[in-house]
């Protein structure tokens, strides 16, 4: 086995690079699931659709608003802001009225919103797969940044990884060292006590959605650039995969979501590369199931807290 890997070391390294790239994208999406779950114990199934919206909105902004496309970086920035806003609106319109309802009601609403947003995108942008015109995105993206023998790391892969690392670090800082993050952690533990200490719970939940959806939007844009394909159902598949990553890492835990995303990305790419590309999804989910069998709360999941 070892010799086989050594013989195919360039294939192995290339798969590793691809796996890490994919994993960091899954991690970015999974963080959105896990943050919302951590704060209000809701699995926001429409999160994948926010990711899809990120891709579509950046596409629309690039290819022409009012006849003129925005410059690439500005388009990305605006698309991320729109995604954050869409997340907040989603919460206000769909979830907030159900905050005191049984949890199942909010879950069904989340699935409903997911289907609604998917079909809205279908209506606005159509079903065919769109790709970014080559002249509108920076040319260096697909040029190799590093090259060892046959192993090529493109600039886009470098950017994806660096963006993911940067955003994760920033998120950790926000969650652990700011007023907002503290309020989020407090609400996750005891909503009533937090509100009695003067925290406006609704506002903090809105900000949580804004953060998670912003990260989801970034992931959507990165994926759209990486595969150069934008289509209405892209959010569904990526969303399920990222949800699996969040569960694998222990839903509610941000480091768990990052690790889960990485593991799932690597499993998918290596499974696809060494076993069969048509089984790559199946292998990724099999890894998740195995982990869950051994650690039912996920890698970093806490035991369900008892009311002590």
């Amino acid at each position: 086995m070892l010799t086989a890997i050594l013989e195919h070391s360039s294939l192995f390294l290339q798969q590793l690079v691809n796996g890490i790239t994919l994993g960091s994208i899954y991690a970015l999406i999974a963080v959105g699931y896990t943050m919302v779950y951590g704060v209000i114990q809701l699995i926001n199934f429409a999160h994948g659709e926010i990711y899809m919206l990120g891709a579509f909105i950046s596409f629309s902004l690039l290819t022409g608003l009012f006849g003129v496309g925005l410059p690439f970086w500005l388009a990305v920035l605006v698309a991320v802001l729109v995604c954050a806003l869409a997340g907040v609106l989603l919460d206000i319109v769909a979830y907030r009225p159900l905050r005191r309802a049984p949890r199942l009601a909010a879950l069904i609403t989340a699935i409903g919103m997911s289907i609604f947003l998917q079909n809205l995108a279908l209506l606005i942008w159509g079903a065919q797969i769109k790709s970014f015109p080559r002249n509108l995105i920076p040319a260096f993206f697909n040029e190799p940044a590093l090259q060892f023998g046959d192993v090529v790391v493109s600039w886009l892969q470098v950017i994806i990884l660096l963006t993911a690392i940067f955003l994760m670090l920033a998120l950790q800082l926000i969650v652990h060292y700011t007023r907002l993050g503290r309020a989020m952690r407090a609400i996750a533990q005891d909503k009533t006590a937090a509100s009695l200490m003067g925290v406006n719970v609704d506002r903090v939940v809105s900000y949580t959605f804004a953060l998670g959806s912003g990260l989801g939007g970034v992931a959507g844009i990165l994926v759209a650039l990486y595969y150069n394909a934008v289509y209405p159902t892209m959010g569904y598949f990526a969303g399920i995969k990222a949800f699996a990553a969040a569960v694998l890492g222990g839903i509610g835990s941000i480091p768990g979501a990052i690790l889960g995303g990485g593991i799932l990305g690597l499993a998918e790419v290596f499974g696809g590369g060494y076993i069969s590309s048509s089984y790559s999804d199946g292998i990724a989910y099999a890894v998740m199931i195995l982990v869950i069998l051994v650690k039912p709360n996920g890698l970093f999941g806490r035991q369900l807290r008892d009311k002590a």
């Binding site: 009012f66 606005i124 907002l180 503290r182 952690r185 003067g198 406006n200 900000y207």
Partner: protein, 395 residues
């Protein structure tokens, strides 16, 4: 230095009633706390003391009665009928706003022929209008004014569109059907709805309803801090973070300031760390800033809860059985702490089982039994009150 002087009335509850289904947990309880006082609330288990606290904090909604705190009325006196009325008219406004969207699209930008970007920007505008009116359901006075302004603007728009309607004869809606047949009834609808909404929002009962619904966090901002009977610390947060959370309502950094780490937000963070440390030193926990709240011993957790409540800069502190489960040394320390808090000029309303603690701490005592106020007065009066003796020793 003793800053204590009994001043103006800080908290006044008048005939407060709270029913849970058929059970009346609090029956017409009236109580007042003046600035600087230490007031005791005692009674056997299940007498409704904690429920009473929950009503003060808007955790539970009182069935009837009034609460005034620091000049603010905390209990909504809004009847169900008028809140339904407001809710329905807000809904009507929301529907009109959504309807208004295609009209503006056609009128403002006929040349764009309903392109995606126009749809997007205008739908966000319509949604933003609705979003701004969220506080309608919480009866905030400015949201009522905002709605009236929006409705007036809509009315003016509708008139001007009708005036210019001939210009839109050629425009088609997404290339599907002519826009004109939609414009005229749409504008008429807005014109009809505008006076109805104006009328509804100027009804005297609607006007009265505004400014009376308060959430728990708003009451904390007014200056009511509290601790809990069964400790409710954020156990996975550090001691310092627990207290810094109390500073949340006294800091103002907004979302962008926090996310981009703007200097103002960072300065505020340092300030709140400093204030939180002060509060912790005050209760004697200044040495354990970074340990987890759950790792503290029981008595220290109680004091941490008090520090967290103090960090919200309360005028009135509600203590729910702060000495429960404490040994005599700890409860003696607690009494000293409560006196020091009181000396700092904070009024205290305290629930306690331990009669001894109460007798030498409280200025006045209220006694609840089965939700009813059976006695009130100075500790000496309470001690000799026949009803109190019966409630505690009889049964």
């Amino acid at each position: 230095m003793d800053k204590r002087k009994t001043g103006e009335i800080l908290l006044q509850a008048h005939k407060l009633v709270k029913k849970f289904g058929g059970l009346t947990a609090v029956k017409e309880v009236s109580l007042e706390v003046r600035a600087g006082e230490i007031i005791g609330l005692i009674g056997p288990n299940g007498a409704g003391k904690t429920t009473f606290f929950n009503c003060l904090n808007a955790i539970a909604v009182p069935t009837s009665g009034e609460i005034t705190f620091a000049g603010h009325s905390l209990v909504s006196q809004v009847s169900g009928a008028s809140s339904r009325l407001i809710f329905r008219s807000a809904l009507l406004f929301a529907l009109l706003s959504l309807f208004w969207l295609p009209l503006v699209l056609g009128v403002v930008w006929p040349e764009t022929f309903f392109r995606l970007e126009a749809v997007l920007s205008l739908s966000s505008l319509a949604l933003f209008r609705i979003y701004l009116l969220r506080p309608l359901t919480r009866f905030r006075p400015w949201s009522r004014l905002l709605l009236i302004i929006f409705v007036l603007v809509d009315g003016i728009c509708a008139v001007s569109w009708l005036w210019r309607s001939a210009e839109f004869a050629e425009v088609s809606f997404f290339g599907l059907f002519p826009f004109y047949p939609m414009l005229v009834p749409g504008a008429l609808l807005l014109l009809i709805a505008a006076p109805i909404l104006l009328l509804l929002f100027n009804l005297s009962q609607v006007k009265e309803a505004f400014g009376q619904h308060l959430r728990a966090d708003a009451i904390t901002v007014f200056g009511m801090g509290r601790t809990f009977q069964n400790i409710r610390l954020f156990s996975s947060l550090s001691v310092l973070d627990n207290v810094k959370l109390g500073r949340h309502c006294r800091t103002r950094a907004n979302f962008f300031g926090i996310v981009f780490g703007l200097p103002q937000a960072r300065k505020e963070e340092l300030d709140s760390a400093e204030k939180a440390t002060e509060c912790l030193n005050f209760v004697g926990l200044g040495q354990q800033l970074e340990s987890l709240a759950s790792s503290l011993p029981y008595g220290a957790q109680r004091r941490l809860e008090i520090a967290r409540a103090l960090a919200t800069e309360p005028k009135l502190l509600l203590l729910d059985e702060p000495a429960a489960g404490m040994n005599p040394t700890e409860s003696a320390e607690l009494i000293t702490l409560v006196r020091r808090i009181s000396a700092a000029g904070i009024a205290i309303l305290i629930i306690e089982h331990d009669m001894k603690v109460m007798m030498n701490l409280a200025d006045r005592i209220y006694v609840l039994d089965h939700g009813e106020l059976i006695a009130s007065g100075t500790p000496a009066e309470i001690r000799s009150n026949a009803k109190v003796i019966e409630a505690y020793l009889g049964a």
